[in-house]
């Protein structure tokens, strides 16, 4: 999926990495926002073979947007703010 930046997007740009690749983001983005607006399509792959997942609830309840952040472990992409230079690994 591609989430779309609509309003309030005049914020400083930054770069972080997903699976080793540089991805642009904006300060104040959650990892979910940053990954989906950058066109990554999904943030994790279902363990049960039914494809990619990109979260569902956006409010920390469904646990369907888990990613690994280097040095922090498993994090919900929807409740974790992006920081310059952090490394995110999709599983």
């Amino acid at each position: 999926m591609t989430a779309t930046r609509l309003v309030d997007q005049d914020r400083p740009a930054l770069i972080f990495r997903v699976d080793g690749v540089e991805v642009p983001a904006k300060q104040g983005d959650t990892l979910l926002t940053a990954m989906l607006t950058a066109g990554l399509g999904h943030v994790r792959t279902s363990e049960f073979g039914d494809g990619g997942r990109a979260g569902f609830c956006w409010m920390g309840a469904c646990q369907d947007c888990w990613v690994v952040v280097a040095g922090q472990g498993v994090r919900r992409a929807c409740t974790t703010l992006v920081e310059p230079g952090i490394e995110v690994i999709r599983r």
């Binding site: 309030d8 956006w58 646990q63 369907d64």
Partner: protein, 452 residues
């Protein structure tokens, strides 16, 4: 007097306000980095929209709540970024985890749970595709991040949030491809009179509908959603109109929601019994009109105590705190107590009408296709759940053990309601008879090294 308030949404803010007023300094816990809850959620630092742009008709309320929140923080033991993941009611202890790393135990004499709600969903073929979100999620994306879950989303569900989200998206520059409402106009009209108990809110709802029409957003009533189409993301929604004609609406995202369900897992762990509320089609923790649960020292307020909306959350939060104070023989404002009781009675009538005007389509859930994933965490199909029913699972927890429905990481938050509808129909009993999934600690996943 060790008072703990869990949750800093509208209910939590108004509860803490009354405690502080009476000279009590509560420990105040919220899972988010800031208070405000969902409806008046604040974006992270760096966003610049003002309250009017963020909260629309709720902007005055948001300003008042945020001012109170900020004034109260230094007068309490404020603990943001803190998850309460377990309760030991026999010891009156909460287990908390701060910033995903720091473990703590918190003692309480009295506890007010203001844990909020989340969307109630109807699983559809394709609902696990990237691009499908909850309606509340679509709203959070716009409010707290300034993004749309898509540029041309289809919104499916029923209730005021359906119209509100569609209008917010249209105003922000997205073009909703369609708004698909499962409730027919007659049902909405029938219960409209009961909503006169809160005329401003009724008029706001009608205003939303009118504004969507004016903006040319396509609204359909009495529809049946059939499937969400796509491979790596959403490309279309298949649905049937009231005349049983099938349609395919191209779109780049889907937001779905049929009212709300309480996030009541902590009340469950605190030992509060639950009752099925047939009007709102939810299991709700038991409490009296003031918010006292049957468990001594445990009080409930806000949508986590049964869906009431934001007015009820504010009133109920204050009322529960006054009950706590009275029970502890501390000074409490009797005049305010009577005022709140009156307001809450009126609001209950409004809410009952609202819930009936926008019902959860349990009949659609009950009939979902065998191949539809009812549980998205563990990818358990409705067919697997039906087989569990056939293998002697007379209630939800047995069906969970047999089929793994509700055993995933969301702990049945999403699948609980539709799975109960499927199981009940299969067993040919009423929905309340199959019971509800029991809450289990941790109420949300915590790192294994953090569990003693």
């Amino acid at each position: 007097m060790k008072a703990v308030v869990v949750g800093a949404g509208p209910a939590g803010i108004r509860a803490v306000e009354q405690l502080v007023r009476a000279g009590v300094t509560p420990i105040w816990i919220d899972e988010a980095p800031d208070g405000g809850g969902r409806i008046t959620q604040r974006p992270p630092a760096g966003f610049s929209r003002g309250a009017s742009a963020l909260y629309g008709a709720d902007s005055g309320r948001a300003r008042r709540l945020h001012a109170t929140l900020d004034a109260l923080k230094p007068r309490t033991d404020w603990r943001p970024d803190t998850l309460v993941w377990n309760i030991r009611p026999e010891d009156r202890v909460l287990h908390t985890l701060t910033n995903g790393a720091a473990q703590d135990e918190v003692q309480y004499d009295a506890l007010i749970l203001c844990t909020g709600a989340m969307d109630r969903v109807l699983p559809l073929p394709g609902w696990t595709l990237p691009g499908v979100t909850s309606l509340g999620g679509a709203q959070v994306a716009l409010k707290s991040q300034g993004v749309g879950v898509g540029a041309n989303p289809v919104l499916i569900g029923t209730g005021p949030l359906l119209w509100l989200t569609a209008l917010q998206y249209a105003k922000a520059g997205a073009k909703p491809a369609a708004v698909l409402d499962t409730t027919d106009l007659l049902t909405k009209a029938r219960f409209g009179a009961g909503m006169l108990w809160n005329l401003p809110t009724l008029l706001r709802g009608m205003g939303l509908y009118a504004q969507l029409k004016l903006r040319g957003v396509k609204l359909y009533e009495d529809i049946t959603p059939l499937a969400i189409e796509g491979v790596n993301g959403v490309t279309a929604v298949h649905w049937r109109d009231a005349a049983w004609k099938e349609h395919v609406t191209p779109c780049d995202a889907v937001a779905m929601g049929w009212g709300l369900k309480p996030e009541a897992q902590l009340a469950d762990l605190a030992g509060v019994p639950f009752d099925y509320d047939g009007t709102q089609q939810n299991w709700v923790p038991r409490k009296d009109a003031a918010g006292r649960s049957p468990v001594a020292g445990v009080y409930l307020a806000g949508d986590g105590a049964g869906i009431g909306g934001v007015d009820v959350a504010e009133l109920g939060g204050a009322r529960a705190a006054l009950a706590l104070l009275a029970d502890a023989h501390l000074p409490s404002d009797m005049a305010l107590t009577h005022h709140l009781d009156g307001r809450l009675r009126t609001e209950r009538r409004f809410r009952a009408a609202l819930e009936q005007a926008f019902p959860y389509p349990a009949r659609l859930a009950a009939r979902m296709d065998d191949s539809t994933s009812v549980c998205r965490c563990e990818v358990i199909t409705a067919g697997e759940l039906r087989r569990a029913a056939a293998a002697d699972a007379p209630e939800m927890n047995r069906a969970k053990a047999f089929s793994r429905v509700g055993m995933g990481r969301c702990q049945g938050r999403l699948c609980g309601t539709p799975a109960a509808a499927v199981l009940a129909r299969e067993l040919q009993v009423e929905v309340p008879e199959v019971g509800r999934l029991r809450g289990q600690p941790p109420v949300k996943p915590v790192p294994l090294q953090q569990v003693d």
